[in-house]
């Protein structure tokens, strides 16, 4: 079929070029000795050194990684529970509302989520005195809230094609419900949980808008620093940062593919 339709391959190639040429450009420019994007004056690591010595960027990166790790873990717990509730509990009171609340953050414009959470924190502080100051905690809560939706969707769709007779078989063979969960359900949905966690981690690490709304004076995340730097103009330091992120993602990807091959082989029955 694809041989008879060469334009399909062409469209695919053009699509990938569109997706990857800008990224390749970032990587290339990060090694450019010149500050200008239009002239190549030689290969250099100087922007990486500059990045390393930029305490503001490094500090923001560490903060963002911390927030992302905590948020992803929180979202994993809540999202897994929500996914289970939607996939397994059948009909319960308030299911429609629950389903809507779980799915909405997927499409909700970030400015609305950010503004509404900020106003909540302000109102809560006025009524209960907590949170006294906005910062890491409020950003983390905000990130858990919207990342939960993504984890829930991943877990729910994994459970939707989960063969429940596997759990019945385990129970039939004498395993109690918690043993069934620990020895059958959990190992089989583990890949979905891992990808849910990674997704939540990435979303948190990447978020500018919601963090800007819910952050306070002491907490500046990496995207916030990058954003204000970009408004002043492009600097090759940012290209270097981009290259490091791309490298990290690639390494994770290779690892995930290795793991995924084992998991998908196990799931192919």
């Amino acid at each position: 079929m694809s041989r008879r339709l060469p334009w399909l391959g062409l469209a695919l190639g053009a699509g990938y070029a569109f997706l990857y040429l800008p990224i390749a450009l970032l990587v290339l420019l990060s090694f450019n000795d010149s500050r200008l994007v239009t002239s190549w004056t030689g290969f250099s690591f100087r922007w990486y050194t500059a990045l390393w010595n930029n305490d503001q960027l490094v500090g923001a990166a560490i903060l963002s990684l911390r927030i992302a790790a905590v948020s992803a873990t929180g979202a994993l717990v809540l999202g897994t529970l929500a996914g289970f509730a939607l996939a397994r509990l059948g009909a319960f009171r308030g299911r429609t509302l629950f389903g809507a609340m779980v799915a909405s953050p997927l499409v909700m414009p970030e400015v609305i989520t950010g503004l509404s959470l900020l106003l909540l924190f302000v109102a809560l502080a006025a009524v209960t005195g907590w949170p006294g100051e906005r910062g890491v905690t409020t950003i983390t809560i905000a990130h858990i809230t919207f990342a939960t939706a993504y984890v829930a969707v991943v877990v729910q769709s994994r459970l939707a094609d989960f063969d429940e007779s596997l759990e019945e078989a385990a129970m039939d063979l004498g395993a109690r419900p918690w043993t069934v969960f620990a020895t059958i359900t959990l190992p089989l949905i583990a890949p979905a949980l891992a990808s849910g966690w990674l997704l939540a981690f990435t979303l948190s690490l990447d978020d500018l808008v919601i963090a800007s709304f819910t952050s306070g004076p002491g907490a500046t995340t990496l995207p916030m620093v990058v954003f204000s730097a970009m408004r002043l103009g492009l600097t090759p330091e940012l290209f270097a940062l981009a290259t490091i992120i791309i490298a990290m993602v690639s390494v994770c990807l290779v690892l995930a593919l290795r793991l995924g091959r084992v998991a998908s082989a196990a799931a192919r029955v």
Binding site: D163, E168, A169, D172, R176, V269
Partner: protein, 390 residues
Amino acid sequence: MPPGNGPAPRGPGGQKGTEPWRDPEAEPYLRLRGLTRRFGEVTAVADIDLDIYRGELFALLGGSGSGKSTLLRMLAGFERPDAGTITLDGQDLAAMPPYERPVNMMFQSYALFPHMTVAQNIGYGLKQEGLGRSEIAARVAEALELVQLKGLDARRPHALSGGQRQRVALARSLVKRPKLLLLDEPLGALDKSLREATQFELVNIQERTGTTFIMVTHDQEEAMTMATRIAVMTDGRLAQVGTPAEVYEYPTSRFVASFLGTANIFEGLVKRADATGALVESTAFDAWFESDSDPPKPEGGRVFVAVRPEKMRIETAAAETQPHGANRLSGTVRDIAYYGDFVMYVVALPDGSVVRVSRPTETRITELPITWNDPVTVTWPSFATVVLAQ
């Protein structure tokens, strides 16, 4: 339940030892009383009473939605009965969760754990019992030998063929030595070529282990060849329970008569009923049906009679106008279906209804002696006429 003149019993001589259901003194192993399960408005299983004896290979036969799977799942503990009791070997099972029942199940999909090896799959149930490592290994090895899968213990399910998976599933459910083994469409996922060999092997294993098997199937051939007794289910009820020969030769209802094999069914009124047999007059056309067994209804009662196509004879008639008579019908051949081992004739009667008659192909034929539009007479002996109760 068996008619007075009794069908040919299954097994040699029909001693009481092999047919405990004929012995009024015998103690049933599994006893179901008033078992009922509803899903909303639908009653999936309706008030079922059933006794099953130790060592039986009992088949629940029915179409989809007949309630056979729900019944099986209640025995396993996955469905809670709305009413009724389940007693196995004197023990009440109804309130027991699946993981405490001395009952194991072989799932239709096999439900092999994809993240475990064959040995881990088979050993899973033993591990739950808290057995030691070496004992588990020994029992797993024994089970693998029973199903002839030695040497495959380190494989994962996805690296097995369909037939091998079926054996692993069987070994896994047998290794706990359950009092009752439930099999949900055990051969349903196998190729046709594998199925027959596996049928015999399953029966073999059942006899060797002495375990009581209950099997759910929609395939009448599977039920007939394997089971000691069959329960035919429809609409959540047991339509008939009996040995394969009983339910085939002595169906009690129109449903059973036409569900198992093919049957010609006629409606009529009982004209004569006594110990020597019955005479039923057709209400559709001018003919009589003679039977040598007791009719279930007295004289004047409205009944249905069933006649199997293979028990009928078909002959070319001299003239189309020959009248009907006792166990004799006249008509013309409308359709012929050649099956290889037999030929099925569809004969149209003057009133528009049809009768199916089969004829074995004992000799090699290239041209059928009876062909389309031939006037024919169909006759059968009186033992072939079964007067149905419902």
